[in-house]
């Protein structure tokens, strides 16, 4: 069979399977992003706190998830959660067997890794905002949360954006790891296609090109966001 039949969308080709893989990869990355951003922001808040205990708790989080290989984190979450939940369920129903959803496991593991890096990005952005911004907010009678939301956050996002977009590109690449725990993402679908058709170079090359295309699309999107944020800055 020639190349175009192999990657076509028909019954002979693998195009539709790989398109499904693209869908899975993109939705996993998009689902992880808000989770990682939220946890990362919370950890950054903890790490910039005046209180020693809170700072220390935040540092432990970053140290663990920045130091572990992503693949190991994924296995720890996938098998660890499986064993943990199974033992909890067996207390009530001894015969039960639990399968952890690999999508959720991937989301949790990648979210943990993403958030530990994101917390560092947010932290350095927090440090770039002068103290006078907070004091100005308080002096016109805004509450602590209002100051954070109306004054600090808009500036914070602008400063943190380059770092965060870098992390997004890393996240997109890290999603390839979930193919190992059986989620049908781009890489897994191309592995299956490669095994069946024996055209490994074609399909893995195609997978690389798809990841590259996703990265290019993301860069265009990020550029648009940065421009619109920059425009808001100019209008002030």
């Amino acid at each position: 069979m020639d190349v175009w039949t192999l990657i076509s969308f028909g019954p002979e080709g693998w195009g539709d399977d790989i398109a499904y893989g693209v869908l899975v990869t993109v939705s996993l990355a998009l689902a992880t992003l808000p989770l990682g951003l939220f946890i990362g922001f919370m950890v950054a808040l903890a790490k910039k706190s005046d209180d020693r205990t809170l700072r220390f708790a935040g540092d432990i989080y970053t140290t663990i998830f920045r130091g572990l290989p992503e693949l190991l984190t994924l296995f720890l979450v996938f098998y660890g959660a499986q064993i943990g939940i199974q033992q909890a369920v067996r207390l009530f129903d001894p015969g039960a067997s639990i399968e952890v959803n690999s999508f959720v496991a991937g989301m949790v593991a990648l979210g943990a890794v993403f958030s530990s890096y994101a917390s560092e990005v947010f932290l350095s952005a927090f440090r770039a905002i002068p103290k006078g911004q907070y004091e100005g907010g308080y002096s016109i009678g805004l509450s602590k949360s209002q100051t954070m939301r109306l004054i600090v956050l808009p500036q914070l996002i602008r400063i943190a954006l380059p770092g965060l977009s870098n992390l997004w590109l890393i996240l997109l690449k890290d999603t390839a790891l979930v193919s190992v725990i059986g989620l049908a993402d781009i890489l897994r679908q191309s592995s299956i296609a490669a095994r069946v058709t024996k055209d490994a170079f074609l399909f893995f090359g195609l997978a690389c090109l798809i990841y590259l295309a996703l990265a290019i699309i993301s860069s265009i999107g990020i550029g648009a966001i940065e421009r619109s944020v920059g425009k808001a800055d100019m209008q002030r």
Partner: protein, 276 residues
């Protein structure tokens, strides 16, 4: 306006440190308690499932796995460092073809997952077995270990080229001009003036790259190289004992933390002359 001239002179004392139990301290203590509980749980789990037989059987495997991981990272980082020099040079050149090639190389290896690159080299080159056999390279591409080294070297070369380029470009142009006005040649300027300043900038990114390589090297376990992760997976698949993964996590964590502290120490040491 004479708005409170006297007041602005008077320096306000800093607010007194919070006493008692403000909300932040309560939350912080609770979170620390959670971490302590988790740590205690892991220690208890390791003690309860302590099995001297298992340890005696698998500890040597873990040690050899650690050796494989370190060897993989060291070898590919060194090869990558050598490869990165011409790539960084091409990336900074004004020749459109050289620049375009280097740009494409860096973009490809930084834009695609390392796992996909490794698969492309290990499984993908298998498609060309007759051709590779004809030129005598098949024995190289047959071995997962060599493929892993090749993939990792090419990957880290792209990242290291960008680090090198960024560091060299971070040195102000006046340094080049100053050296030229002293009659120094280009290569001499690079060695004696530019690189010493650039390497201070590059140290931290280089350190991060090595750490990323250590973490990334875990994926070679998937193409049947028995590094630390591979040995862990093998031990787990034979025993179904979760402590195998915990031991791997502890080893990786201490490896990475040691390296991070070593890099910080080196950085403090080589920037002593910049401190005031």
């Amino acid at each position: 306006m004479s708005l409170a001239d006297s007041k602005s002179d008077a320096i306000e004392p800093p607010p007194p440190a919070a006493r008692g139990w403000p909300r932040e301290r309560i939350v912080g203590t609770a979170l620390l308690g959670l971490w302590a509980l988790l740590g205690l749980g892991i220690v208890l789990f390791l003690i309860r499932s302590w099995d001297p037989e298992l340890f005696a059987k698998y500890a040597p495997f873990y040690l050899s796995g650690l050796g494989v991981t370190v060897a993989l990272v060291v070898v590919s980082c060194v090869i990558g460092a050598v490869l990165s020099i011409p790539i960084a040079y091409a990336r900074m050149s004004r020749h459109p073809l050289l620049y375009g090639l280097a740009y494409g190389y860096v973009y490809f290896f930084r834009g695609t997952p390392l796992l996909a690159q490794t698969f492309l080299i290990y499984y993908g080159f298998g498609s060309f077995r007759p051709q590779l056999e004809a030129i005598g390279l098949w024995s190289f591409f047959r071995e997962a270990w060599y493929c892993a080294i090749l993939a990792f070297s090419l990957n880290t070369a792209a990242y290291q080229a960008e680090i090198l380029r960024g560091a060299i470009e971070s040195v102000p142009k006046g340094q080049w001009e100053g050296a030229t006005s002293l009659g120094m040649g280009k290569l001499q300027t690079l060695y004696k003036v530019i690189l010493p300043q650039a390497l201070i900038v590059a140290l931290r990114p280089y350190g991060n790259e090595i750490i990323l390589m250590i973490k990334g090297s875990a994926i070679v376990a998937i193409i049947t190289v028995y590094d630390l992760m591979g040995e862990t997976r093998r031990a787990y698949s034979r025993t179904f004992d979760f402590q195998t993964y915990i031991w791997a996590a502890l080893i990786y964590l201490s490896l990475v933390e040691t390296l991070r502290h070593a890099i910080e120490w080196i950085e403090r040491r080589i920037t002593r002359h910049l401190k005031r």
